[in-house]
Symmetry: C2
Subunit: 172 residues, 2 copies
């Protein structure tokens, strides 16, 4: 996970010159905040996989992993997630009642297909969309800082599951 900082570091596709840990430390320093074992454990865990997660899942995973000395409390997780978002390491989105987080640092800009049956999030990239958002914004004198597109529907797997359950005759 942690590498010599002179080497480029790859998470997904974008190459960056610091590990998430290093980048977070930098953020903390710049804010007069401190590097603690809780923050280290949390960042390490969050960037060891590239899945979407919510606060509750993260809390569970951390508790299962480290029941001992460096447990991270619920409150601390929420506080750290806010910091990671502010530091630009994570992106937050609301997908249901809970907020969902995903990697931002070292990960390319993308949007999502959201399957409303199984809740899976499929990522996709579209440069056209970036052009479109600029074109729209220009028309309103709007200064864009970002966007979020979620296309909802049914993923291939769930569509197939349905077909197996519903006989073709039922569809007439």
């Amino acid at each position: 996970m942690i590498q010599d900082s002179h080497t480029d570091f790859s998470l997904g596709e974008v190459r960056v010159s610091m590990t998430p840990q290093e980048r977070f430390d930098e953020y903390l320093q710049s804010k007069g905040k401190r590097t603690t074992s809780q923050r280290r454990v949390l960042v390490d865990h969050v960037f060891s996989r590239h899945e979407h997660f919510d606060a509750d899942e993260l809390i569970d995973q951390l508790n299962r992993k480290a029941r001992g000395a460096d447990r991270v409390s619920r409150a601390t997780v929420y506080r750290a997630l806010d910091e990671l978002v502010e530091a630009g390491l994570l992106r937050k989105m609301s997908l249901g009642s809970r907020s969902v987080y995903e990697h931002d640092y070292g990960y390319p800009q993308h949007d999502h297909l959201h399957c409303t049956e199984c809740d899976e999030l499929i990522e996709f990239r579209s440069d056209e969309l970036l052009a479109l958002r600029e074109a729209v914004a220009r028309g309103y004198g709007f200064r864009v800082t970002g966007h979020r597109l979620t296309i909802s529907g049914v993923c291939r797997a769930c569509a197939e599951k349905r077909h197996r359950k519903i006989s073709p005759l039922d569809l007439i």
Copy 2:
């Protein structure tokens, strides 16, 4: 607000042949539900203006309007909002901690520019986006049912406000 049902009814741009009230009644009937004074008051109020609103705002407005006999309780407002969404009259989105609602029935498909300073929502339409979403989905064998795009940034008014406060010299 209420018109002869043989006349077309216009809310925004799309012409429909029933008032929201009529359409809601139809939905209620089809579900074996009943037309009550609370539901009438609520639908009437919601479709008397074309703004985005959340449950709390709506409850306040209704209480201010009708303090007397046909008050609508908090619980009933939440229950009715769910029904209006299911009936296709309203669309629900989560923009912060609260859910925000907007007209769906009789109103054209659109997306939003969201100003992060003043929270204003500016609506826009883009046919290109509809094409884009189909193209993307096709690539994943995904069956689209809808989408939501929110472009965030700073609206013209807020950008100007900033300029007035910050002298050009500060920007160097």
